[in-house]
Structures are given as C-alpha cells and as structure tokens.
Symmetry: D2
Subunit: 311 residues, 4 copies
C-alpha cells in the first residue's frame, strides 16, 4: 500500500519472536501482529532496534517482512528497517525488504565508520534514488553514535529525499525543530515525524508530532492507542494520566541485573517476557549473544504487568 | 594453510580497489597483493576496516576472499574480517569467508546494540565454537564504541576461544598487559598479539608484540617489513629512524579537508590515491558514501610519497 | 528570604555583564536584573552556566551575588551556583555565596575526576549537611560528563538532602520520572523541579514541572513569563505558539561560525549581543578565552531580535 | 630555580597526604618528598591529578606548594598544577602557586565549557603572557574531555607559549608527533615532553620523550628512576623487565570494588594505602567525596607491594 502522507498514529516497532533455537517463530510473530492490530495500531515497523534487527540474519529479516506483509494484507502500512553500516549494504537490504513487500524503509546514518554530515546526506540521497518506496531517517545516537542535525533532515526533506523521521534521539528540542518546520513550510507537506521516545509521547504529540513508535506498545498497544486518541481529542489530563501509567509500566525494561547483562538484554528480554506472560508469543528467547532474564527477573516483569492492569 | 602460532611479522589490512562504478576491481586487488608480497609481508588481512569492509556487500566480500586466497595459493596466511553487528550475523560471515578459503577470522565485539562484557564473552565463545578456523579478536573502540578489557581477552585466550588479538585501540598500556601475559603464561603459548597502531610499531614489537597490521603498509610494505626486521635484529636506532620516516608518511591520511569529509574518506582516500599514484591500482575510488579527495588533496598525497622516497 | 517549596515559575540564569577589560559590570548587571523583574520573573539564578560561572574568579562570583542580593532586597529568591570540581571546593563556594546572601545553592555532580554514583550521593549529602540554605542539584551532562540518575535524585530528595533539581540534561523522559514522583509521593512535598531546556518549557510544565530556568529569558523575560502563564491557564494552543516564537528566537545561539569558535562563545556571545542591542547592558564582551562574535554575526543576532518582535 | 630546558627524568606527581579530618598533613607530605628524593627523582609535580588537586581548596593548594618548595630548597625543580575550568580562574591559581615558589605551572585546556581549539590556543597564550614562570600543557582527555592536538601543541611551542607537555592522553602515536618534532626542529630546542603513562615509560623514552610523570612513582620512586637509567643506558632488556615489574605493581590501582566506588577512589586510595603501608605517610585518607578502601582492599594493596618486593 502507499504510505500515508503523513503517516499518523501508533506504529509499534514489532518484536521478533524466536524459537528456543533462535529461529524466527512465525506463528508467534503473526499472533503478535494480531495483538497489535486488535489494539488499534496505525502501522507496523518491522526490523527496527526493538525488533532485534541488529541480531537477525538477512534470511531471518526477509522472513519477517514476508510473513508480516502477507498477514497484514494491506490493512496497515508496513515499514521495514534497513539497518546496516553503510550505503552499499543498506541498499542490499532495501532491495530485499521491498521485494518482500515493505511499504517504506527506515535507515540510520552510516555507523562503524567515522562519518561526516556530507557523507550522511550522500547516503540518504543514494538510498532515496534507489528505493522503490519512501525512505524515513532513523535518528538513534546511542546505536549509531551520530546525531542527525535537524537542519540536515529538513534539507533532505525539502529535496524529497526523506519522507519522514523516526526520532529516538531523546532530544525533544531538536525533534521540535523538525516538527514545527514540517507543519509550517509548504514544501514539507506530508512529511512524517514520529517519536520513538515512549515516555513523552503526549509531549511529542502536543508539539505537533504525527505519531509514535513506542517499543512498549508491543506489550500494551491498547494503552498507546488510547493515549494517542486522548491527545488528539485534546483531553490533556487523561492523556497525562495514561502516559504516566505507561511510564510506570516502562520500568520493566530495568529488571535485568546490570552486573550480569547489558541494557538491550534487559529491555528486549523484558518486552518478550511480558509478551510471553500475556500469552502472545510462545517463547521469550532473545537473540544471541544477549543474556536471558532469570526467573526472578521475569517475575518482576509480571509484577509490572499486574500493576499496569495487564495481567 | 594453518595459521602459525603465533603469527608474526607484518600483516597488512589489504585495501579493496574498486572500479569507477564501485565494483571490486579484482585485477587491481591482485596487483596489490603482489605488491605486498614483493614487499615481504608475512600474512594478509582482508576485509578489515582499512579494506572498507563496512562498505562492502556480502557478495563483494566473498569475491575479495576468493580472489586473494586463490592468488596467494597458500604461500601466506590470509585472515579475513567478519565485521557485523552481532553473533548471528557475524556467524554468517564466518561461514562465507571460511568457505572462500580464509585461514582465520577476525571479529569485533558486538556493536550498534548496548553491550555488556558478559555478552562479548558469549559472542566470542559462540564464534569460536562454530568457526572451522581460529578466531582473533579485533579491538577497535572508535568503530565499535566498546573497549575489549585485557582481562577478558586473556580469559578467552586461556579457554582456547581466541587465537589472537588485533589491537587498534591505541591503548598501548592495555595491549602490553595482553602481550606480557601471552609471553609468560604457559597456557597462552601460541597466542598472536598484533598491533594496528602504525605509528608505534617499533614500541609494540619492543614490548613483545608478535607483529603489526598497519594500514599504511599498503602504501609502503617494504618500509614496514624493513622496520620489522630492524626491530627483530635489535637495531633500535635504525628502527626508530625507519618508524619516524613512516610516521611522516602517515601524515597523508590528513590531506582531506575536515570541513568537507570525515576521517575515513580522508584516510582511505589517501591510501588509495597513493596506491594509484604508485601505479599499483587502476582507480582510486573509495566506496559510497565517502567523499572523494580533490585534485589538490591528491597532489598533497603525492608530495608525501615523494618526501617518503616512494615516487 | 526562604525558598518557596516548591519554587515555581520562570527563574532565569542571569547573564554576567562584563566591562571591556573583563571585570563585572555591576551597573549593567543591576539593569539586567531590573529588566528581568520588569518581565515578571519569579526568581533569579546567578552563577549558573549561562552566567559564565565557569569563567568567573571567586572574587567576581562574590561580587555578583552581593550586588544582585542587595538590589533585589528580598523581593525574589536568589539562587546561586556553586560550580566547582569536588566537594571541598564546592563547600568553599557555598560558604561564600551564602555569606553574600544567596537563598539557595545549586551544585553539579563532581567533575574532572572519574565519579561513581556513590560518590555523587556522598557529595550532595556533605553539601546539604554544611549549607545553611537549601541545595538543588544541577544536572548538566554536557558540562559534567555524568548524568544524574532519577533514582539517585529521588533518594536524596526523600532524605531531605536535595530541595530541588535543575535539569539541563535534555532527557525529558528521565526528568518526568522525577517530576511525577515529586508530585505523587508524600515524602517529596515541596521538592522543586525546574527544566533548563528552553525549547520545551511548555512540555515540561505540562508534565508537571514547577518552572523553568531558560537562558534565553535573559533576552526575552516577558516571553517566558507569558508562556508560563499560558501554560498554567491551560491555554495550550497559545502556549505552543509562544513557545514556537521563542524556539525561533533561540536560533540566535547558532550565529557564531563553528569553524572559528565553540558553542559557548556563540551562545553566550549571542545572549550578550542581544542584551546590548536591546540596550540593557553596556558591553557585550564574554569572558576569556571565548571568541567574540564578528560584526556580521552580531547583525544576525539583531535579525533574530527583529523577527521575534524585540527590536 | 630555573626549569631545565628540557626537564628530563622522573618527575612524580606528588600525592597529597591528608589528616583524618582531611587537612593537608604537612609532615607526611615532607616525608613523602624525602622518600621521592631519596629515590633519586629529577623533579616534583605538585597539584596534579594524582595529587588530588581537583579536591583541594585554594588554601590547601597554597599550603602544599609552600611546604614542598620550602623543603626542597631549590635542589629540584617544583612544578605546580593550576587546575581549573577557564583562563581567569587558572590565572588566579598561577598567581598563587608562583607566589608560593613554583618553578613552572602545568595547565589543562578549559573544561566544563564547550571548547574550541581557537579558544584553547587563546587560553594558553594568555596564561603564558601572565605567568612569571614557564607554562606546560597538561593533556588529560579523561578529565578534560578534550584532546590537545599535536599540531596545536607544536604551534604554541614554536611561539614560545608552551615550554613543555605532560601527556596523559594514552595516545602514544600523537605524543610521538610532538616528541619527534621537538627533537628535530631548531625552533623547539629545550621543549620538555613528559609522558604520564606509567605502563609504557620505556617505550616513551625510546621514542624520544624527556621523562615521565608516573603516579606510581609515589609508591616506588626507586623503580622508576632505575627504569629511567636503564633506558638512558640503552639496556633495553633490563629496562623492559623493570617496566614489567612496575606494570604488575600498577595492578594495585584496581583493588577498589567498581560496584562501590569510582576509578579515582580506587587508584588514589591504593597509592595512599601503599604509602601508608610502606610507612611514608601517617594516614591513607583520600579527599571527599571519594570512597575509602575496605580493609580487604587494603590487604590486596599489601600483596601487590609484597609481590613487587616493596614490603
């Protein structure tokens, strides 16, 4: 399907359920998609950071896109991450995910290499020239170690290179710069500005964002859709209360012992444990080399779910 | 061929010559290998950072390994980088480069994700368990944004997981910790410690390193081999003079205007411009999205070559 | 005067006007204070980062506090920064600024040294034990290279160590954690949560912040006070419009050529140039070793003022 | 006394012994100075990072310089750190430490502020213009979060601004650039290049450094002086053995539990515990807010001393 201009609403970065031997668990993935659609989400973002894209082989990535696109059948737009180090490698992913049916691709700046803004611009220009579908920029400095400057995003948007931005930088002031320009400059009509900061979705929508890509929406899609609707209806007080409930729930990402595992193991492990406890997916395994949560840590995930009214 | 235990000497990270349309230029690559072998190098490291591995597609990477392994015909060990974000993706590269004939693989810690030492250990243990050839760790914090702790390297070495270390961290004190332990602990016999710091190869060899992986050896293999021999012969004064000549030559990596391009564009562009000026490769193009050197900048590369006695 | 619990409203970090030979220009400083009070601000924060505290000698710092406290005469609370590397040195500043009449002190985590959360906690506990006035934590990772964890701030608040937080971290999600807890936990009644992020003051207030410490309020105090009142009145649309006007005005911090100067020179130089152009201060000089703005750059500051309706 | 040009040899950064209530313990300080001089050191560096300068009040700093200068009586050059955030504050320290008799001052680039190379150059030019004694640059990126570029150091050296460099950057390649230029450019005769990297003093001397500023020399001055003499005599094998003994001894900096304290608490606590165990100082206390070593951790320091032949 054609990507709406702009794409609005809640667009979860879809977790990738795995089997105990770390293959893509397609039946669980499709149940997860059903769970998200039942929650009322407005689009799906597969192969993002929350999807463990960095851990999935090319074959696994392709399987995910094919399965989700086939299942969704055009009811919702499906965006796919094309996460890799540099332009030639990202272009290979763009080819594969669009062949598999993705409606848009989402790409970061180059990483691993020492990158200059001029090179980032060239990167996105080449991606857009070769991609059969719209390209969104993915700003995620903790992963990429580069911050996309708002000026650069706006220049590329004005030139028709970028169709949108998924902002996981945590820099709401910089994001606002893009959002305000996109709302007020005629040349930027249709540009999509999505926040990845699940703790301030209400604030991002209030300042003009089109939507959100909250990892936590895997666990509680209804909550984020409810929040989105309250914001759009201008019911700020109930929106704030719902956002605060979700902020409390988000505490589950910290259950993993930092002496034993990194932040990805903890957060992605907790999302999957929650989906498992809620009966959505069959196995809570995360990809290698992540460290599994202990039984105690999973129990703490359960307490967060209970406190959030989800169990 | 079987990797020597330890591997000693000069093991250049081989540049990957490209055609003007950014395909692997195999004839130039083989001329470059001949140039390195004529210089007396002791091994070849393909698909490292200097090889632009981060910019090469899987197909291009495989072509490089096959071409070089076939050409070398077992006269020298060929190490291949398996540079990717996480264990499952690195394992795919390990499978491909070893099928193509690599004698050892070189892998970094996970990147893009937020990684914990326990996850790095798990990563290398899984790589070693699956690899048909020895695994060397590649410590390159500017790319990976994690420093491999000497203690972790030594633990993995003692367990037979790591066969060696390529240290591009710039932290000679930490590297020394590994080198000294490898030289003195019986359980670490045969462990290979190579420095990637081309400006202090004499110092690294003096403190016990087995060899060096200097990017600049693409341009001047004879120089680094000469330096290696002087060091091994204990001729410290002439070694220092040769190292200082190479340090001056290394200035060519800074010819690119930092207002116009990043450090990779400048350094890799300069290496390739030098190889082009010396008649080794046909085209000095670097991979996308790197910015090409200007004619003036290339001229400055030529001056460095002339000052270094290489033109 | 006693610090309100909580302190609410707009509390500008007061610029420190200097003479051409870099002495504190007290008459200009007092005119600036009058300008801020005429704008309706609710408190004054002297010796913060925007005040160039890092550049002021101990004698100059003391002069600033005495002059402002004497001039204000208890009409508004005066908070003073106690910016230095570690506890013993900060304690000296606390002694001096409270002797000079400050109503509260604002202190960062230790910097220059390699600091652990346990040491940060100890630091604040010792400051609070010795200070005759309330202590607020100042979270400013770009300066201090440490982020104050919300959990630590809340623990110190619950123990009566911290009376408040000035958050210049840019991490609105983390700030929200503190704000929500302060609003809902009985033990934290009276805790003051102020945002230093001038581009999202509306968002910070909407999620429960008590007030803001916007550097740009030196230039346009009426604007920020107007914004504060619109937010408190629940007039979100006009608040957003006013915030967007201020965001556009904030563009003046970028007038300085990054090839010629750092971000502090540009931003602080622009604030002072604006105050000079508006006739508030006599001389726009910034402290050494900052680079002065060029005439062209000052002209651009004037254009921002004109566009913002301030000239 | 006049600073030698260049200053050569071992110049320890002198620890600052404290009483249990954290006042400067002058008798212990003077015993420490005697211990260092008995070890044969060639100069003393007070108020450096190892001296806990960041933790000392202005009064304490002055007391240290006066005591040491008076005690040494011109037998050795005494360098003093002037560690503070920016030019005006550093100038105050320069005035105080030179009034107290320091023979040279050592200053970092500005910190806390966002600093540009042009501002760093201006900083050092102003310091040199005002200082009655030579100024050395102190390159310590982990504290200052800026790396001094070799080109900038050399430019300031050529202009007579900098008399020397104390390099604690860990970047031996960059340090070599300065050392080689200082040795070969006529305009740089007399420039002093000292390494602060205690683990590679042999390597730094081999490539041309004038001397070393090893924190560990507080604990074992004889060892570093012995190492220096072996290096100067060209006895590389015994030099390497002595350096390796000192590297093993250096392991004591890691005795502090990282879950309980930061790196400064551990390293400085271990140096002082060692000096206490060796009977040189009366009390091993470190300055606030550092965390004291536990009895077990002190016991481990003792084992390092025993293994190093120092107990």
């Amino acid at each position: 399907m054609t990507l709406p201009t702009p794409l609005t609403g809640v667009v979860p970065p879809v977790c990738t359920p795995l089997t105990p031997d770390r293959e893509v668990d397609v039946p669980s993935l499709l149940r997860l998609v059903d769970h998200l659609m039942a929650g009322g989400v407005h689009g799906l973002f597969v192969l993002g950071s929350t999807s463990e894209a960095a851990y999935l082989t090319d074959g696994q990535r392709e399987r995910v896109v094919r399965a989700v696109v086939g299942h969704v059948g055009g009811q919702l737009p499906v965006l796919a991450g094309a996460i890799d180090m540099t332009t030639p490698r990202v272009l290979d992913h763009v080819g594969r995910v669009t062949a598999a049916g993705a409606d848009a691709v989402v790409a970061t700046a180059p990483f691993y290499t020492r990158t200059h803004p001029a090179e980032i611009a060239r990167h996105y220009r080449m991606l857009a020239a070769a991609s059969p579908v719209p390209v969104l920029a993915y700003d995620i400095p903790p992963a990429v170690h580069t911050k996309l400057a708002p000026e650069l995003v706006l220049e590329l948007a004005a030139d028709g290179v970028l169709a949108g931005l998924k902002d996981s930088s945590g820099d709401l002031g910089g994001f606002r710069r893009v959002v305000t320009a996109a709302r007020t400059h005629p040349g930027l009509t249709g540009f999509t500005a999505l926040t990845g900061s699940e703790l301030v979705v209400d604030a991002a929508l209030a300042l003009g964002a089109d939507g959100a890509v909250p990892g936590l929406a895997n666990v509680d899609p209804h909550g984020y859709v409810h929040l989105y609707r309250l914001c759009r209806a201008g019911d700020r007080e109930r929106a704030r209360a719902e956002q605060e409930r979700l902020c409390a729930l988000f505490g589950l990402v910290g259950v993993g012992d930092p002496a034993r595992m990194g932040g990805s193991s903890s957060a992605l492990g907790a999302f999957k444990a929650a989906l498992h406890l809620r009966g959505v997916i069959t196995c809570p395994a995360t990809a290698e080399p992540q460290i599994p949560l202990s039984a105690d840590e999973v129990e703490r995930v359960g307490k967060f779910l209970a406190a959030g009214g989800l169990l």
